[in-house]
């Protein structure tokens, strides 16, 4: 129950304000980092879905266009293999991009500190 009076509420507000500022660095490497990792994970997942890599890998032995004869199967296998390789490369590029975003998140604050120290001293 929220039983409060003016002064207690006032001090709560002030404390809240201070806490919010002090919590910032903790948040950055705690909750914030987890959120970042999650969002990058969903990003990669969306890209994978877009490329359909999983679907291609799963169906690597299934003949394309319903061509169930041997030649059809053989050609299909190789085409699918090329597709899988090609699509994996694209996905890998996206993965690298996501990793760099994560690196920036991790290393930007220390770099900023160093740059500031460098400026001031």
């Amino acid at each position: 129950m929220l039983k409060t009076n003016f002064f207690s509420y006032f001090s709560i507000i002030i404390l809240e304000f201070l806490a919010k500022i002090l919590y910032f660095p903790l948040w950055w490497y705690g909750v914030g980092l987890i959120k970042k990792v999650k969002s990058l994970f969903y990003f990669i997942k969306a890209k994978e879905e877009e490329l359909g890599l999983g679907v291609w890998v799963k169906n690597i032995l299934v003949p394309m266009y319903g061509q169930r004869d041997f030649a059809g199967r053989a050609i299909s296998f190789f085409i699918r293999l090329i597709q899988v390789i090609f699509r994996s490369i694209i996905l890998f590029v996206w993965f690298i991009l996501a990793l760099s975003a994560l690196a920036i998140w991790l290393f930007f604050p220390p770099i900023l500190v160093i740059a500031l120290i460098f400026q001031i001293f």
Partner: protein
């Protein structure tokens, strides 16, 4: 939805804690919140400080980036030599760089604040109300709904309380909360859509702030009334069910509107109701949801293949099928199909049937009821892949039956169909849709005999070779499909006509498109009118299509008007009335004008053209008023009367006068001489036959539901026809030969009869009172010709008196006025001596035939003579025709020009 919530939650007193609240999803919801002036002020100061902080933060960021730009400007000479230098800006010792580096911290801080703010907006913890989760983790049983309210609303609640205090009231009730809610933009928008004068509403409210509302239990906060607590708890439940992150102002508004009698009273003064507000709020929700869905849809549509191939490239080409079909999923992917609203019931039935192993589904429902909308919705769900697993990564293909059978003999058409089905089967990623399935049945093509293509389809479905959805309207389903092989293999899903509110909500989802297409602003009244008026006047069409078409027409009318007057872009009830009048021929002002005024002046209006018969006119007017005001069954006709009396006393004239004053024109009379309906074919003539002939009565009323049906000399009609009338008078509907239900709910039915004419004349002569005559007529004369149950169904049996000499004099004057008017159009005047008129009245009166001979007399003595004189040139323009004291014609020559 809200109705469900209201029904689901029972607001009770919890004995243990002595608080009021409601059990919902395993928890006891209540509201406990302390309001103190000082704290409220602090809260406001806090919000203001945070807002200020946010502004400063953004300003700091902008300043930092500006400093960086200035640094670039200052160093442009060096940077133009080596642009890569910019990356090593931090090595330059410069105050501008220092500012920039410091401001970058603010950028990071902003990211942090925004993310925290977003989290803070998620005030409802859905896990607490998740039943499965509850079993594992009991958690506290009591839930203070306060937690789900954002600061903005809490500040409003504070304000409501202070408002009550200011008015010397102990606690804030619904009316105070409603008043402060009106300050919010979202709430104001609702009232703009309702076309409500906000100032008037506020002034009404401010004058009526006294509401003695009960206080809640012992330990709950007593600063709010019990009903306010109830509204706050319900608003929470509403937000919870809708899956919103926190309760918003519209949730609260919705649950405030129906809690207070005083508020209901004020709202009805403004011609709005809780239901209207609910529907308007739903409109905003629908728009939000559509936007959200559109956003999600375009995202997921990117993943759906735009060709006939599935994602794994295992499908095979379908060249034949492609020729005779089009791909609905591709159309949906590229946004060509309209978003489908609601219809959850039908979708779940479709998925259940497919999952249950039924390969063929048949949607059955009247035209315009939304079968295509459901199919479009299914295509969209397939694009989003929000479908059961076996429908994932499939295409919905509409088979174009007319193209399939075009230019081919029956056997060729069959071959085409067989090929198409076999391709669909082999391809493995196709769901076939056939609109109007009856088109496949009994096709006669070329010189060959008829061939039933549906058998081929039925076989494929029976063998589970394809997934197929088809649609048909009720009539075609009954005549062509039911009982055949195809009807047996397909599972029928009945698509029902949406209810009024559901139809309004479907319309709401279409408004944005109309508004942008026509450049107008649609108010809620227009939507309601479109649904209500289409239900009332367009009986042979179905919701929601008839209302959508009507609204579209109204929108185009208001767009036309807006073109002439750019300030007037509103599409409202009046425009819908104009549109319906365009479609049905009922005068627009008659639809929208309030009936009360019309009814109040009815006697006066009727007497403008009908002389005498005061008692009959009074009885008719009173009956019409009664019929409209009383809580009568709205399906029944407006009123049914039986007019009794000798010929020529004004029975037909009164019917015409009623039509003119009630409907605006005597053309609304549908007149049936019942002497023509004596034979055995009377019923066929009246309502049509199964051979396709149209019935005179049913066709006339179907085309003009707003009408006065005059059944002249009802006693002469065939007894079977009289039986038909029993139902028509009582239920207000007849089924015609084509099986259509024709509604008479907008008709006035008047039957006339000469039964007992001599008796009436004799009794009047004796001076018997009219009521006694009427009773005697009903008891002794009428029942020889009409069955008592029929007599009973008339709202009034009205006896017409024989005309008196004074009446005849007035009628003569009235008729002469008509002649005067006709002459006036030719520039000729008419003047009559009183003695002359008396002579005409005397000569024209016949106790047996009433006023009827008078018309003939005036024709012979006045009109014929004047006509001759005009032809011979004796009467010219500006002359005056005088009827002298001997009732002879004289001419007064007018001035020459």
């Amino acid at each position: 939805m809200s109705l469900e919530i209201k029904n689901q939650l029972e607001f009770i007193k919890e004995e243990k804690r002595e608080i009021f609240g409601a059990w919902f999803l395993g928890r006891f919801l209540f509201w406990d919140y302390e309001i103190k002036k000082s704290i409220s002020a602090l809260k406001k100061a806090k919000l203001a400080a945070y807002n200020l902080g946010n502004i400063l933060l953004r300003m700091g960021i902008i300043a930092g980036w500006l400093a960086f730009l200035v640094w670039i400007y200052l160093n442009q000479a060096d940077l133009s030599v080596n642009p890569l230098e910019i990356l090593f800006f931090w090595r330059d010792f410069h105050p501008l760089i220092l500012i920039f580096l410091l401001s970058l911290w603010l950028d990071l801080f902003l990211i942090y604040r925004k993310s925290e703010k977003k989290d803070a907006e998620k005030r409802i913890n859905f896990k607490l109300f998740d039943k499965e989760n509850n079993q594992k983790n009991q958690g506290p049983k009591y839930y203070n709904t306060l937690k789900a309210y954002p600061d903005k609303i809490l500040t409003l609640i504070d304000e409501a309380y202070f408002l009550a205090k200011k008015l010397n009231q102990d606690r804030a009730s619904i009316i105070h909360i409603f008043r402060v809610l009106l300050k919010e933009k979202e709430v104001q928008n609702v009232f703009i859509r309702l076309n409500i004068d906000a100032k008037k509403l506020i002034s009404f409210l401010d004058r009526n702030m006294e509401e003695g509302d009960e206080a809640p239990g012992k330990s709950s906060d007593k600063r709010l009334s019990l009903k306010a607590h109830q509204a706050l708890v319900l608003a929470f439940a509403e937000a919870l069910i809708a899956g919103r992150d926190s309760v918003d102002t519209l949730d609260l508004l919705k649950h405030c509107c129906d809690k207070s009698d005083l508020l209901t009273e004020i709202l009805s003064e403004m011609e709005i109701s809780a239901n209207k507000i609910e529907n308007t709020i739903a409109w905003f929700r629908i728009n939000e949801a559509l936007l959200e869905r559109q956003r999600r849809f375009s995202k997921s549509a990117l993943l759906k293949p735009g060709t006939n191939m599935n994602r794994s490239y295992t499908a095979i080409a379908t060249p034949t099928l492609d020729q005779f079909s089009h791909d609905l999923t591709v159309q949906a992917k590229f946004g060509y199909l309209e978003m489908c609203v609601g219809r959850e019931q039908e979708f779940s039935e479709i998925f259940q049937a497919f999952t249950g192993g039924h390969n063929g589904l048949l949607l059955v429902g009247a035209n315009g009821i939304g079968k295509s909308a459901i199919i479009n919705g299914l295509a969209q769900m397939m694009v989003e892949e929000k479908v059961p697993k076996f429908l994932k990564d499939r295409r919905l293909i509409e088979l174009d039956v007319p193209t399939l059978v075009a230019g081919a003999e029956a056997s060729a058409a069959q071959e085409r169909l067989l090929l198409s089905i076999s391709e669909a089967n082999r391809s493995g990623n196709i769901v076939l849709y056939i609109d109007n399935l009856e088109n496949l049945i009994g096709i006669t093509s070329g010189s060959q005999e008829s061939l039933d293509l549906s058998e081929v389809l039925a076989e494929a479905i029976r063998r589970k070779h394809i997934f197929c959805i088809a649609s048909a309207n009720n009539k075609n389903f009954a005549s062509y499909i039911e009982g055949r092989a195809i009807g047996e293999v397909m599972t029928t899903i009945i698509v029902k006509e949406p209810e009024r509110d559901e139809a309004i909500r479907i319309l709401e989802s279409k408004v944005a498109v109309l508004e942008s297409r026509y450049g107008i602003f649609v108010v809620y009244g227009a939507l309601e009118a479109a649904v209500d008026m289409s239900r009332r006047f367009l009986h042979d069409q179905f919701l929601p299509l008839k209302a959508i078409n009507l609204l579209e027409q109204a929108a185009s009318f208001s767009a036309e008007r807006a073109a002439n007057n750019p300030d007037d872009v509103f599409c409202d009830k009046e425009n819908v009335a104009t549109a319906i009048s365009d479609l049905t021929g009922v005068p627009a002002n008659k639809i929208s004008e309030s009936e009360s005024q019309k009814l109040l002046n009815l006697e006066e209006e009727i007497h403008k053209r009908l002389i005498g018969q005061e008692i009959a006119v009074q009885a008719v007017a009173a009956s019409l008023r009664r019929a409209r005001v009383e809580l009568k069954d709205s399906r029944r006709p407006i009123a049914n009367f039986l007019f009794l009396g000798p010929t020529g006393v004004g029975k037909t004239e009164l019917a015409k006068a009623v039509s003119e004053s009630y409907f605006g024109d005597e053309d609304y009379v549908i007149r049936l001489d019942m002497s023509e309906y004596q034979g055995d074919d009377a019923i066929n003539k009246m309502i049509g036959g199964i051979d396709g002939t149209f019935g005179y009565l049913t066709e006339a009323v179907r085309k003009k539901p707003f009408s006065l049906i005059l059944l002249d000399e009802i006693e002469k009609s065939n007894p079977d026809v009289l039986n038909l009338f029993l139902q028509m008078f009582d239920e207000g509907r007849l089924t015609d030969g084509q099986g259509r239900a024709i509604s008479f709910s907008e008709s006035i039915i008047i039957a006339t009869s000469n039964i007992g004419a001599v008796f009436i004349q004799d009794e009047i002569k004796k001076g018997t009172e009219i009521e006694i005559i009427k009773q005697a007529l009903i008891d002794e004369h009428l029942n020889r010709h009409l069955r008592p149950e029929l007599i009973n169904r008339f709202d009034g049996v009205i006896v017409f008196k024989p005309l008196t000499k004074e009446n005849i004099f007035s009628i003569t004057t009235l008729m002469l006025k008509k002649i005067k008017k006709a002459l006036g159009e030719k520039g000729i005047g008419l003047r009559a001596d009183k003695n002359g008129v008396n002579i005409l009245a005397r000569d024209g009166y016949d106790p047996k035939f009433g006023a009827r001979p008078l018309r003939r007399l005036l024709q012979e003595r006045i009109e014929n003579v004047v006509a001759n004189k005009i032809l011979t040139g004796e009467i010219k323009r500006r002359d005056i025709v005088i009827i002298n004291s001997k009732a002879e014609i004289e001419v007064e020559t007018g001035p020459e020009l």
